[in-house]
Symmetry: C2
Subunit: 156 residues, 2 copies
């Protein structure tokens, strides 16, 4: 299967997602060694879960199937350019690469906030539309100290 | 309860997360009208889910409790500055505001990639450490067209 072929499969998932009223028009597939190891479509409104974007659902599905929190050796095919949440999920799951069909601007033209969020990230936290306030506390570093001294910890 | 008080509760969740070997040193709480409506701690390694960061777990928990994919009127308290994935999840769930204790630089000092991912976002997609390749197809816009003509769609 070519990259274009896998992308067409992701686009089919995106279209089916809308036709089944599961959520937004997005689909994603995780491929390893020429085989699908995970897939997902947007399920935000049908599951009341704002994090249930296609890529997140596909990554969680692939990790459950593989039994690992890492997608080493995998390629993710998405019907649309990943939003910042999904970009972050991709970095934390560490696949080899990503291919996408539609762009963030095409998503924005259909009413999705991807481009807005990309712009918000670069603002000072307290100046964002949703303000992020930093309050440093004496206890702030305590969890990291406990983590550092936990010899049984599993890094990720 | 003061903002500092809620942050201390989130920090307690972060420390407990490590001591129980559930995952990384992070905790988050969702508060509405002075009451906790959702909470979470990092569970990446214990659930093999790279998206199970404290904020994502707390948002999913709050949305399940409230029965909505939106956190209007809520405040999120996190033991640490949200990573880009969690920032995206926050924007999609639309709480009123966010308070955090430790910063992304303090997280990076303990080996967490938050700051790296913030830097990666601003790069051209194909130049990232994990390359994001755009392949425009004739079918790219089809899911958005189906979405636009679906009068029964639920916007989010």
């Amino acid at each position: 299967m070519t990259h274009e072929g896998w992308l067409k499969e992701a686009i089919k998932l995106a279209t089916t997602s809308v036709m089944n009223n599961q959520g937004g028009p997005f689909g994603a597939i995780v491929v390893k060694n020429g085989q699908i190891v995970g897939q997902g479509n947007n399920q935000v409104t049908s599951t009341s879960d704002p994090t249930a974007h296609a890529e997140v659902v596909a990554i969680r599905n692939a990790c459950a199937n593989i039994g690992s929190h890492q997608l080493t050796g995998c390629t993710i095919y998405s019907s649309c350019e990943p939003c910042p949440m999904c970009l972050g999920a991709i970095y934390w799951s560490r696949p080899d690469k990503v291919y996408f069909a539609a762009t963030r601007l095409e998503a924005a033209a259909s009413g999705f906030d991807d481009a807005l969020i990309y712009n918000e990230i670069e603002k000072p936290p307290e100046k964002r539309i949703i303000p992020f306030h930093h309050i440093g506390l004496a206890e702030s570093k305590q969890p990291f100290d406990v983590w550092g001294s936990n010899t049984g910890r599993i890094d990720y």
